[in-house]
Symmetry: C2
Subunit: 497 residues, 2 copies
């Protein structure tokens, strides 16, 4: 592990980050709001970034181990430096600001604000913009970086994008990123136009398009999407939530003219049917109980099921008042999440699909003990080690879920609130049940719980192993400390350090 | 699948079952209580059994597929015919009686009775005796039959008992059974003596020794073990619950003079430390909140942690009033259960141990992608397919848990009650939380929920795949219908049927 190289890359990251902070500063200028929170934050980011760039000497190329650290350090830095505007604007203390900022960059959407209307437009914009940037990061992470790092079966997507190979990492990632971001920006602008057509103003259209495509779920309104009270807006947003939960390479293929791309994907079909199944259950149990009118039932059930499953977390109804089976179902759907390669969180549809196939495989193995059975996915057989990686991923997921839930309950939080808060953050959804339900917020939780949940957001977003591996001793074995330029020259140039 | 052979074996089973029903009949005679419920049930069992024996012609030997059906049919038959005394005594309707009876033979200990003191002594004895018989069955099932059927990694225990091999199934099972039952009876009698020394009468000593060794948890008192109000009794029972949760081959080795047998077993050490960890957390969070006196705290926390983890389910304290972290911890410990080869339920300690090792293995694999890593257990490497079987077992467990929870909540039961009821029955524990907490019972649940939970008890006890495989189509492919003796002779003798 060449820590110096990792920090050098982080330096560049912070420079770009400072540039990103100028966008909400421009919005503040436009609306005549204070510029200081953003300019000060941008200044600090730029200074730290420059400091790292000037004092470190990077290695020519980065390896496999450095990859993990770059990913985790970048997201953590985005969380930390992105928290500064909330602090400088005087809205939040640092722990709360960190929670809110990490909730943004991980596209979670859990908030500590009990009401949103008193925030300045520029701070709102920063919340939405941070989710949009986080969504961009996630697409590239899941389709270009994780497959190379071999995390949790993401190797399935290794050949997904043209020419993605292990050697020559950087240029390929750039190519992949360019293509995918094009699609991402296209959908964002499309949603902006459709929301404008629904009567929203430019500002709110952008804010909500940003957080829909990122499956983030931050809204400019305390009542979330319900505030607009428009069926048209609801359906537009459902459509884009659905799209945001789809692997972006499928969108790319579709836009290139391959119209069968979606339904040819086994994961897409699974994603589609799981959502439809959830919708059906909610429709049945809400009918006559919560909604008398079938159309109203459809509108709210459809919205809530896809909002939760794609891990967006927008609300148009207080689903915490729904029938217990709907609440438990939504709690389960939280773990399904989006497809791999989407901006959605959760365990990812493909992993659950392979999980179910693996159970079937075990049955066949019991009935025909000597037959060599395999798990097939998308028409090809899945190598055994990828199946194992998927199972290992889910195993660690279960472990982190239980560990974090115990830590939160240890502070006296009741079981449903605690477990649903962990589920909502680990899966990057937003709201949970009971004390952190859709009409509540995370502000009242003890600071320690907030930090645990902040960790969950990061760990869930970065697919667990990326983060967890940094806590193992063997990862750090062979650590090369950074060589700072102000050290003695002969030491710096030592090629073996 | 030769269904005729399976039913023929079931015929023998029912004859033995009828004989077992004569024991509570004798108790009824002793205490001057009505004999009819037991004699009528015994008569019906014997008649059905004889009918099957006389009209069916078995194959010479039973195969692999027949094994699954024999196991599932026997336990189901025990549940159904064991329910008759409750019905004939006029205490319960059939669904409730079935729940109570299956709860007995699966050594679960969940009850539909809101108070127990009004039951006759002979019915109490039948409840306790059914658990004791169920415990006997489980020991042989898990150490002699499941390893041969290849269920969920139990192949680990294939070589555990001397000379257990796939060929010559029946005589080996008998040898194994004789040895293990000797140990089981020895511990039962030892506990009877120690309980007698604590001031319990013969009758209650036997009833509680039966249900402790079976990790069953049925008591003759509504207040469970708390009714005796004796620290001595509590500690005696904790000791035997602990022992009942240990693999009985370890007891056998210990009694043969191999005093290091326990701590040489990696699973035993895991079982020991997991329980100790749970105890520590409960001690900390109960201290000063629930119990002021450290000794009192130790007594109740120790009892409850081991009662839940070994899946016994006796109560000396209402742990549903404990701190949320203790309640969630106990809910988690429910899944750990006893060691494989004990009478305890749950997922089994060894599977969780391998689960944790597998997570570690995935970490090592990420850091050293090319290294061929393996999971080691008890000093030997675990074949890949056994690790997969363990993971597949846990995957199906999670699936059944969620499916059953959804079915129970669908009837309007709240989430904590529903999920803890499923956890308590699937893991064969007894009490859950909230509506089915330690001071409550299962009697108020809707009939459909009771049937779902009855299924959970059976599925959990028989290690899921045994039951689940009977629901697959390919298991029944090649089914040979029973040849009844009253059919035409030439058809009966057809060797290819």
């Amino acid at each position: 592990m060449r820590l110096g190289t990792v920090l050098y890359i982080l330096g560049w990251f912070l420079l770009f980050f400072a540039a990103a902070l100028l966008v909400p500063a421009a919005i503040a200028f436009l609306y005549g709001e204070p510029l200081t929170p953003f300019l000060a934050s941008a200044g600090i980011s730029a200074l730290v970034g420059l400091g790292l760039l000037l004092s470190l000497q990077p290695a020519k190329d980065i390896g496999y181990r450095e990859g993990f650290a770059v990913v985790v350090f970048s997201w953590t830095a985005a969380g930390v430096f992105g928290a500064l505007p909330f602090v400088f604007a005087g809205y939040l203390g640092f722990v709360d600001a960190l929670f809110e900022s990490v909730s943004g960059f991980t596209t979670t959407g859990s908030t500590v604000f009990s009401s949103l209307e008193h925030l300045t437009k520029s701070i709102h914009f920063w919340r939405a913009f941070s989710q949009w940037l986080g969504g961009m990061g996630i697409i590239v992470l899941s389709l270009a970086i994780l497959p190379l790092l071999g995390i949790g079966g993401m190797q399935l997507y290794q050949a997904e994008m043209p020419g993605l190979t292990k050697d020559k990492l950087a240029p390929r990632i750039q190519d992949t990123a360019r293509i995918l971001w094009g699609v991402y920006i296209f959908f964002t602008l499309l949603e902006v136009l459709l929301l404008l057509a629904g009567g929203l103003d430019w500002y709110e259209s952008f804010c909500h398009a940003f957080t829909t495509l990122a499956t983030g779920g931050f809204s400019t309104r305390t009542a979330s999407i319900a505030a607009f009270g428009s069926a048209y807006v609801d359906y537009v947003i459902v459509f884009f939530m659905f799209m945001a939960g789809v692997n972006f390479t499928l969108h790319y293929r579709f836009l290139k003219g391959d119209f069968g791309a979606y339904f040819r994907s086994e994961e897409f079909r699974f994603y589609f049917w799981v959502g439809l199944f959830g919708l059906l259950i909610c429709l049945i149990f809400n009918h006559g109980r919560i909604y008398q009118d079938p159309l109203e039932n459809l509108r709210y059930s459809l919205f809530q099921v896809w909002s939760i499953m794609t891990t967006t977390g927008y609300g148009t109804a207080d689903f915490d008042l729904w029938h217990p089976v709907c609440r438990l179902l939504l709690l389960n759907l939280m773990f399904f999440g989006g497809m791999a390669g989407s901006t959605g969180g959760g365990i990812k549809q493909v992993r659950l699909l392979i999980f179910f196939k693996f159970i079937g495989f075990q049955f066949r193995k019991l009935i025909h003990p000597k037959a060599v059975e395999i798990v097939r996915y998308d028409g090809a057989k899945v190598p055994n080690e990828i199946v194992q990686a998927v199972l290992g991923y889910m195993a660690l997921y279960a472990l982190v879920f239980m560990g974090a839930s115990l830590l939160v309950t240890a502070q006296g939080i009741d079981i449903i609130t605690a477990t649903s808060a962990v589920a909502a953050t680990l899966n990057n959804i937003g709201p949970g049940l009971e004390g952190v339900g859709p009409t509540k917020n995370f502000g009242w939780l003890p600071s320690f719980s907030k930090l645990v949940l902040t960790f969950c957001m990061l760990a869930g977003r970065l697919e667990l192993y990326t983060v967890a591996i940094l806590f193992t001793r063997s990862y750090w074995r062979g650590l090369r400390w950074p060589v700072f330029r102000f050290r003695h020259v002969s030491e710096r140039r030592d090629p073996f350090r």
